[in-house]
Symmetry: C2
Subunit: 217 residues, 2 copies
């Protein structure tokens, strides 16, 4: 990070170090216990300081959470641009998703933090904003064709569901499944979302013809 210069090995550097330690500790705690479940005392203790330091550095718990979320967005998410442009885009996404959610790999991620914190009103608002602005915008940009926004959102839903089932609920068939198998199973799923083919709706309507719609509210 070339953001700011740590002047030397002295006081300002120490302050930045503690601030970073709190941020890391908070990130882990929020990912594990959610916004409400994580306590400032525990976060501070894991960072080696007192609970009041988080108030000093980040103003309040809400401020800390916002900074954690913002910070997390910069890290390698599933939508990392490195995957874009590959020949087999669906497979690349599937591999990235499986890789990220493999147990013991990255125990904490931005998505999990946001999911676990939706019970809090303020945290839910932050989560909504961040996902819409960062994740969904990136996914929409990576997808071409009709209804790119909706399909990008559904793609995010798939990503979220896999993450939740594998990392939060740790559903056994998914948590213990062979990564290669999951990639094989997920590739066509993702492909059906990010590779629109032709006007899907028209084809569907033509095929089903007289099928019962039942989609009228």
């Amino acid at each position: 990070m070339v953001k700011s210069d740590p002047p030397a090995g002295s006081r300002a550097a120490k302050a930045d170090a503690t601030r970073a330690a709190i941020l890391a500790s908070a990130r882990k705690a929020f990912a594990e216990h959610g916004y409400d479940g994580a306590g400032l005392r525990g976060i501070a203790q894991a960072a080696g300081v007192t609970a009041m330091m988080v108030g000093r550095y980040f103003g309040s718990k809400e401020g800390l959470f916002g900074e954690v979320v913002t910070d997390t967005m910069r890290d390698p998410i599933i939508l990392s641009a490195g995957n874009l442009g590959r020949a087999d885009l669906p497979r690349a996404f599937a591999e990235a998703l499986v890789g990220v959610t493999t147990q013991g790999q990255t125990p904490l991620d931005g998505f999990l933090i946001l999911f676990r914190s939706t019970t809090s009103a303020t945290a839910a608002r932050i989560a909504r904003e961040r996902i819409a602005q960062v994740h969904h915008a990136t996914a929409t940009a990576a997808i071409a064709g009709d209804h790119a926004s909706e399909r990008a959102a559904l793609f995010l839903a798939v990503v979220a569901g896999v993450q939740i089932m594998r990392q939060m609920l740790e559903l056994e068939p998914l948590a213990k499944a062979e990564p290669a198998l999951l990639v094989e199973l997920l590739t066509p799923v993702i492909a059906s979302l990010i590779e629109p083919r032709t006007p899907v709706a028209e084809v569907q309507a033509t095929i089903s013809k007289g099928a019962s719609p039942a989609t009228s509210s």
Copy 2:
């Protein structure tokens, strides 16, 4: 309800009524705020009684949560057996999923309760057990072919992801999307999971233009 005999219009019936009221109030509160976020005082007040009544009727908060979850499993979930056996199973599932997650339809559901409560250790354990025993077992039974367990789990992941994005985070493109469009987009996704041998996407592609199926397992 032919479950047990409500003796008359007197005291035992009143007890059952209050118990049911607490259960309903708790279900709503847990769905909205999660296990930790929901307070016994608030639940009791919404039911018209005092906080201690929940302790009397359900032993503890954990007992209440377990009963709420068990009770929720009996209600129409996405995997309701009524959908099974239909000709177009993927479409039936897609319609059910979209219908359930339509805004203002069913604001509270078992899945949401479980997702919002994963921050608590005991609630997470209950959620894991219930999902594995009820949802995943049902889904696995409804799916034939290789790796039925893994594909059923991925199907649940898709269901979970859509529910979360539409009802918890309320991601705008998904929450405001036309239900019919979502069904069209979700049908091939689900089809690629629960119909391994004869993927609908392949049929669509063949009819529409003759594109590459890309479903080699």
